[in-house]
């Protein structure tokens, strides 16, 4: 009889489609619900955040330039791959949060369903939020939503559903994002990164950082090449306020933190917050 050695997993960051360690070389201990050691996670630094923004910016042109239909297909593909790895995610949720089997299943189901729901919106959001405008002249005038650019997100603490709920609406509409995973539960976020890396999502569209929100978020909030800021996961009101102030310098679109029921049916607002409207006059009769 042979005894196998444990295969310990090294949780790294997810930046530009790669899984690099933190530039700083730091890591921090992640415990399970009972307080016993689970794994080490990378503790990202401001330079990792900078690299992630570069990757997101580089990916923006290609991702936003795809047809909405194609983006929907890719987001749906994430749901497919996630569905195929549901056992792994259920086990991770049970370990991380101490959920029972039924509860863990509920969250994984909800995460998959959430992705499918947003995937369906990819090629429909423009019809709902865009418009053909009546003008007093012989012109077409219409308004269409466009992605705003690179969005920095602080994810809420629900390790899987929380992350999916904030990332999916942002990327579905053509934005790219840098997301800081839940500080106490970062491992599932990196596993979700593996799902994204294997589901036709171009590298750099989603970049996942793990580490201290208080350390990384201010650099993203003040970054002049970031166009939107989602503060859903910021619990500390003072930090949220200072991040909002930092974001004002280049007029980022900011979504303020609030109490969220992650299991509740989603609305369009997470998508529309990070859309901007382009209105075009089109002369007729040429």
């Amino acid at each position: 009889m042979s005894t196998r050695l444990d295969v310990k997993k090294t949780y790294k960051l997810y930046i530009g489609g790669q899984f690099p360690r933190s530039e700083s070389g730091r890591s921090y201990v992640v415990n399970d619900a009972k307080g016993t050691f689970l794994a080490n996670a990378s503790q990202a630094s401001r330079k990792d955040a900078r690299d992630a923004v570069l990757a997101a910016r580089a990916a923006f042109g290609g991702w936003s330039g795809r047809t909405a239909y194609n983006r929907g297909q890719v987001v749906y593909r994430i749901a497919e791959v996630l569905e195929g790895r549901r056992d792994q995610f259920e086990a991770e949720l049970r370990a991380a949060e101490g959920l029972n089997a039924a509860k863990a299943r509920t969250y994984v189901d909800a995460a998959v369903d959430r992705l499918v729901w947003y995937a369906g919106w990819a090629d429909k959001i423009a019809q709902v939020t865009g418009s053909a405008n009546a003008v007093a002249g012989p012109y077409f005038n219409h308004s269409a939503p466009e992605p705003t650019g690179v969005v920095a997100i602080v994810a809420p603490s629900g390790p899987l559903l929380g992350l999916v709920s904030v990332v999916a609406p942002v990327i579905t509409t053509g934005n790219t994002c840098v997301v800081i995973a839940s500080e106490p539960h970062p491992l599932t976020a990196i596993t979700l990164g593996e799902v994204m890396a294997t589901s036709d999502l171009p590298g750099g569209v989603v970049n996942v950082l793990t580490g201290s929100v208080a350390e990384i978020a201010p650099w993203l909030a003040s970054h002049m090449d970031v166009n939107g800021l989602d503060l859903t996961g910021v619990a500390d009101p003072d930090l949220a306020r200072s991040l909002e102030e930092a974001a004002a310098d280049n007029l980022k679109r900011v979504r303020r933190p609030g109490v969220e029921d992650l299991l509740a049916a989603p609305a369009l607002d997470r998508m529309t917050t990070f859309l901007e409207t382009k209105t075009v006059w089109h002369p007729m009769g040429i």
Partner: protein, 331 residues
């Protein structure tokens, strides 16, 4: 040591440059380059950590060393004017930002560049220089008289500096004297009517020279013939400026000054796009040849996109937040 500008066919090397055979004997007598050693040394110098205050100075120095370049077939007077404006005031939002060393354009754009820079006759001190590429840039495949006419035209139009390409075909087939005499002839063509002379930069196009030994030989050849600068590349060939190549060239200018007392400048060009790259080069200059070369008169960067990255880093250090490409001009 007070350095003097080199003059063509410096007497020290009259014998070595007397015939093709003598020149070949001299160039092949230069010590060979340890390829692995050079690459290792370049890589290890690239790992230096440069801290805040040094970085601030390095970025400003690098901006002052930039030859802001546009060498495209689609260059228009408008683009050259925009480039000249950027060279004078790289960051319009910040008057403390230094101007670049020069703008580098094709010969027919020299007049436009001079006008845009507001250059009148006289001293080049304290203003952005106008550098022109000449001698059938970038291939150098033209008869000698065409190359010389090209050079004279650029000098006549008011270029302060001439970037010439060597004949790599002749060099690689061992006709060193031909290359030497061509550089000397171009150097003579740089002389203006009033007896002063445009500075000559000799482009070796190291990406086509195949070996570091050849880079060392070409460097010496360019210096023997009286080049004020030796420059890595046209920017049209990959690989262009790499750190090991710069290391070899810096060693050559150091040895040349030790032998002759004449200081020659070095200009990497092509492929240097980030502040980090630029700072690695400055570290290498300081380590290999010392601070005498840490000056725009003796070290230049031929670059276009590098300047924006330097400006972004500079803004980051001043404001404490990361900047983005949206806030700087595209060219």
């Amino acid at each position: 040591m007070k350095a003097t500008a080199p003059s063509p066919g410096a007497t020290t090397f009259a014998q070595e440059t007397a015939s093709d055979a003598a020149l070949r004997r001299f160039l092949h007598g230069l010590p060979g380059v340890d390829q692995v050693g050079a690459e290792q040394r370049a890589a290890s110098l690239g790992t230096r950590s440069i801290k805040t205050e040094s970085k601030r100075q390095a970025i400003d120095l690098a901006i002052r060393m930039v030859d802001l370049t546009t060498l495209e077939g689609m260059d228009t007077p408008g683009k050259v004017r925009a480039l000249a404006a950027k060279a004078m005031r790289p960051d319009p939002a910040d008057p403390s930002c230094p101007s670049t060393a020069a703008v580098c354009v094709y010969g027919d754009m020299v007049g436009v560049a001079r006008e845009a820079l507001g250059v009148s006759a006289g001293s080049t001190a304290g203003r952005v220089h106008v550098a022109a590429v000449a001698t059938a840039f970038p291939s150098g495949r033209a008869p000698l008289d065409v190359k010389l006419t090209d050079t004279r035209d650029a000098v006549e139009a008011g270029a302060d500096e001439i970037d010439m390409v060597i004949d790599r075909g002749a060099f690689l087939s061992g006709r060193y004297l031909q290359v030497y005499e061509e550089i000397v002839a171009v150097r003579e063509a740089c002389v203006r009517a009033d007896g002063s002379s445009a500075h000559l930069k000799v482009i070796l196009e190291t990406g086509e020279l195949q070996t570091y030994d050849n880079v060392r030989r070409a460097s010496w050849l360019g210096m023997l013939a009286g080049g004020h600068f030796i420059k890595t590349s046209t920017g049209k060939i990959q690989p262009a400026a790499t750190l090991p190549v710069i290391l070899v060239m810096l060693e050559a200018v150091r040895d040349f000054r030790d032998t002759t007392g004449q200081q020659v400048g070095v200009k990497p060009a092509g492929g240097i796009r980030t502040s980090k790259d630029a700072i690695k080069h400055l570290v290498m200059v300081n380590e290999v040849v010392g601070s005498d070369w840490l000056d725009p008169d003796w070290f230049r960067f031929g670059a276009s996109t590098l300047l924006n990255d330097l400006l972004m880093q500079r803004t980051k250090m001043q404001t404490g937040r990361y900047s983005g490409p949206d806030y700087f001009t595209l060219d």
